[in-house]
Symmetry: C2
Subunit: 319 residues, 2 copies
């Protein structure tokens, strides 16, 4: 495959093209992903999440400058919320990454949230793999929001940073279930605002409440992205967490779990399409829906009945 | 089944018990759901979603008073964000539903967001069906947040109300993809705050941008839940939307789509557990994960290879 070869040789246009093909579910997608796989596994993957307006983008921007000073190359996958009406990114904060647009060793890719939830998480994982195979030392996933979708997206990261601000409405109390659990590092950004201390105290309290004994207690870093305050410290903590994971086989275990989830995802995806292919438009399926709609049959029994008549292992169709 | 009989006869304790059993994935879950299904389909289902702090709960509280004055009975399924550390609801705003606790014809059930995303959407759907079978005229789903999880939850509703406030950070701009599309009615709550007009203008602008010609343009209702202002109007608009759906076969079509999604969900659930049952712990699966972790095999080829050796239609295990 020409595009895979190009990507591995370091051709930026091949990389950009590959990400697009994969994101758009092109028919070449599987071939591309299969082709690059043996070249992956070298990049270190960092995830950033937090509420809109927490200043994550500027923070990542400043962090990239610090990372670049050490000579490491960087790839960024930024998830932007997309408006269903305009079809384009609505926050448009990608503009501020201009600082690095001249830098060939920083590759930035924005992804919309047009698709389904599962689709977004998959597209992010795929883009990360392409950046990894391309040879980026550090790959950053940046996602806006603190919902379940973000939790799923950052599950692709080795180290996860949760960004909060002292601003109202962004209190620790409103942080959704799941997000506190995935944080390896907390950042209180805009820490020059009033209430920054309270935010730090709230996080500490939550960490204290967590009675599961953990080997790693997430540090809380105060930053001001405008003045780059705290950014060096954040990078140091990121390196510490990486070191922590690389001791023993923690990182290997995390990545093995990721592989397991990935292969199960693919298998589920394959059998789900096989199922859909076999039932869609069949009289059996349509009649069952009709019966359930009429309340002559319940959905569970309906599902069981249709499955009894569908052969999932070969490609014969029912009826 | 005793519990199903009790529920259908109107025993509130049987209802509460049934919801708990279903929410906790008890082994009796499928029997309960199968048992009540023929008694469902009569309730009208309204979904409420919006950012935390938008005052949805008070709004629903006031709306219930208006609905009760017409003699209709009400069931409420309220999704509360749960803290992963304390295990309990953190917003605790259920407290304010006290106005209706003495009213036997209002049944309120809070659900945590502990489980997985898909699990929550499923549990909500199940609880709605139980309230429907119990005989509630109106069932309200209330969910905190504006992410994909909320979109999935309110897909179980016939009419969806999106609640916004003029408060900062709750601007229409930050509303996530998908949420604007599902709104049948917009509410600008706390409309006595400054910027309420701007919020209304922004929603109107977004609706104007939506070039898909639609038969129903979502109305925008201004409310102040504290003084009940606008609540009567909201109820009138809800009735109008219901009437709109009941004209022709719009409601039937929506519900048919829901049945279709439901039966497919059940089928996918069944085949996914069948798959997991067959591969979990097998040498085939473990060796494949190992090979992928070593980069000797890519995950897609690995998934394909495992599936080739698994027989999904009968219950023989590979190796």
């Amino acid at each position: 495959m020409n595009i895979v070869e190009g990507l591995i040789k370091g051709d930026r246009r091949a990389l950009a093209r590959a990400i697009s093909l994969v994101e758009n579910e092109d028919s070449s997608k599987n071939e591309i992903l299969k082709g690059v796989y043996t070249h992956t596994g070298k990049a270190y993957i960092i995830g950033f999440t937090g509420s809109p307006g927490s200043g994550k983008s500027s923070l990542v921007d400043k962090l990239v400058s610090v990372i670049r000073r050490e000579g490491l190359t960087v790839g960024i996958v930024a998830i932007d919320p997309t408006s269903p009406f305009t079809g384009g990114a609505i926050l448009g904060d990608r503009i501020r990454m201009q600082e690095h647009t001249e830098d060939k060793d920083v590759f930035i890719r924005s992804m919309g949230t047009r698709g389904s939830l599962g689709g977004l998480s998959r597209a992010t994982k795929d883009a990360v793999q392409l950046l990894d195979a391309f040879g980026k030392d550090i790959v950053i996933i940046e996602t806006v929001g603190v919902g379940q979708s973000e939790v799923d997206v950052v599950k692709n990261a080795d180290t996860t940073v949760v960004v909060l601000t002292p601003a109202s409405g962004d209190s620790v109390q409103t942080i959704k279930a799941g997000i506190m659990e995935i944080a390896n590092i907390f950042v209180v950004n805009k820490s020059d605002l009033p209430n920054a201390d309270r935010t730090r105290t709230e996080i500490n309290l939550m960490l204290d409440l967590d009675n599961k004994k953990k080997e790693w207690r997430p540090p809380i870093i105060s930053t001001i992205s405008l003045t780059s305050e705290g950014i060096e410290e954040l990078w140091e903590e990121l390196k510490k967490h990486r070191q922590f994971l690389e001791e023993g086989d923690r990182l290997a275990a995390i990545r093995r779990e990721r592989v397991k989830r990935e292969i199960v995802d693919y298998m589920e995806h394959i059998i789900k399409s096989r199922l859909w292919e076999k039932i869609s438009g069949t009289t059996l399926f349509e009649k069952t829906i009709e019966k359930i709609s009429q309340r002559d049959l319940d959905p569970i029994s309906g599902a069981e009945k249709v499955l009894e008549r569908v052969n999932l292992d070969n490609h014969e169709f029912p009826e």
